[in-house]
Amino acid sequence: MHQLGAQTKLLLALGYLFTTAAMPEKAWKVYPVLLILIICTAFLARIRLVSLIKRSLLAFPFHLAALPVLFTLPGDPCLILSWSKFSIAVSAPGVNRFLAIGAKMWLCIQAAALLTATTPMRQLLAAVDALRAPKVLTAAAALMWRYLFVISEEAVRLMRARSSRSALLSEGQGGGSIAWRAKVTGGMAGSLFLRSLERSERIYNAMQSRGYDGKIRTLPSTQAEECAPLTLVIGGFLFACLLLLGTLWQ
């Protein structure tokens, strides 16, 4: 799995996401098949399921946005919640859609997490590049990736400096008003921006002194490998079958 070309993996992952998102809501018998696909891939790639699941839980707060659907989708009421004077009905199609959204989200996040766990960022960017994404954007993304950790550490240092200067006394409140705290944080954000700005000027000077002419060159090893057409065809066929199955077998 780790040896497979980045472009192939990206296309397969996108196909999987598309299949999952397009799956009809009531195709509950197909969702386990989709989950088995994820588990098999994770097993082949020797990625621990626990870490995958931990990562996939990250987006679950967003599931709250789908909560009202429980009550608003017209259909047979299957549960009536009463609270003093008020009562509200949970409809069966609402429950179905709520669960389907959750399942789809969970599967999609795991697929995307598998893609990034098996593909280094450089290869992934090269694959995006090979799919004709604008060079300006991929070059900026590569630079961003290169300096993300440097600048994140700078942000962590700023936060450490703030917390070491704002000790909480045992009695009373630490820190000033909310506006004051926001202003301090704003100052941190501003100084992070200025430092990055100055860093980018230094980077540009360094690039120029090495003969930068507006083009980013990468080592041949990081360029996208050959796309594996056979794997892609098999994958596409599998996804099409699953979609068909989901539509017919509800």
Binding site: F62, A66, T72, A89, A112, L192
Partner: protein, 319 residues
């Protein structure tokens, strides 16, 4: 390393295929315009700048301050990027940030990326640019800049959340009449945090590098098109949202079934009852008028506040 996910990154599975492909098309179209514009306007050295500032925005999203009871104010950075880089370069920078968040950190889905780009890189940037320019046209004074930045940041978050709620509503994921008021009120609060941090950052930058904020930067040199676009987006979303959320559907059906429709008519919108204006016959027209009045009120309040601040502190040379 990883910032807590801001509630505006839509994961995959939430948007219908139609909605996500529509917003992919829109975002790709706008991005290609942005690429053409920046190719003409940006200098060679601006390209490393975009990459490094994208990293700075990503890292800046880690910065937070505690508000109360475990909640905290965050920075999303669209407004700050717009003010410092100008709208087109900011759109590209935010595109890089949002795409890498989706691709590497699963913060927002890949199929939903088109919609997320539309909300954060296009709507967020265009709205903050329009508001910032609009307010700066009132006064060119240096100390006015943080206030304009606050208004720009707040409106960018607020309008982007309306767009996000509408996308969810069109996908049938979350009913409009609940999603829109809920998203709008949550993000009206989040926007305050964003606005305060943005204003603080602008105060700092105004002291340390005033040249970056002076009139002749990328912000003022940019085209009228973005300005008009931002205004149009703000007004359109402010008008469209109450229109969508006043549309009677699901909830009222269930409510009627359960016979608590009378109890549900709570006095939530006393000022403009049910988002409609008394005395106007057509329901749609009345809703649009009510939405417009809302926009005018918000604009009026922000202009009024900034105007007052200007008058009351004429000799204050700090800030």
């Amino acid at each position: 390393m990883h910032p807590s996910p801001p509630p505006m990154h839509i994961p995959d599975g939430f948007l219908s295929i139609v909605v996500s492909s529509f917003f992919w098309a829109v975002s790709v179209g706008v991005l290609s315009i942005a690429l053409r514009k920046t190719k003409r306007m940006l200098r060679e050295k601006d390209f490393p700048l975009m990459g490094v500032l994208a990293a700075a925005i990503f890292a800046g999203q880690m910065l937070n301050f505690s508000v109360t009871g475990g909640t905290s104010g965050h920075l999303l950075g669209a407004a700050l990027a717009t003010i410092l880089l100008g709208p087109w370069a900011a759109t590209l920078t935010m595109t890089v940030v949002v795409s890498v968040q989706a691709l590497i950190f699963q913060d927002g889905g890949l199929l939903a990326l088109g919609a997320n780009l539309f909300n954060m890189a296009i709507v967020g940037v265009a709205v903050s640019y329009a508001v910032y320019r609009l307010l700066l046209n009132l006064s060119k004074k240096q100390k006015f800049i943080p206030l304009a930045g606050f208004a720009a940041a707040w409106s960018s978050i607020f309008i982007a959340s309306l767009s996000c709620a509408l996308q969810l509503a069109f996908s049938g994921t979350s009913p409009a009449q609940i999603a829109i008021p809920a998203m709008a009120s949550i993000h009206a609060l989040i926007g305050i945090g964003e606005g305060m941090i943005t204003a603080g950052a602008l105060i700092f930058i105004g002291r340390a590098r005033p040249d970056l904020l002076s009139g002749e930067t990328a912000v003022s040199a940019s085209s009228r098109g973005v300005f008009t676009g931002g205004i149009v987006i703000s007004v359109a979303l402010a008008v469209l949202s109450p229109l969508a959320s006043s549309h009677p559907d699901g909830l009222e059906w269930v409510a009627e079934q359960q016979g608590f429709i009378e109890a549900a008519r709570s006095p939530m919108y006393n000022l403009i009852p049910d988002y409609l204006l008394p005395g106007v016959e057509s329901e749609a027209l009345a809703t649009i008028l009510a939405g417009l009045i809302g926009v005018v009120i918000v604009l009026g309040v922000s202009i009024g506040i900034t105007h007052n601040r200007q008058i009351s502190r004429p000799n204050d040379s700090r800030l």
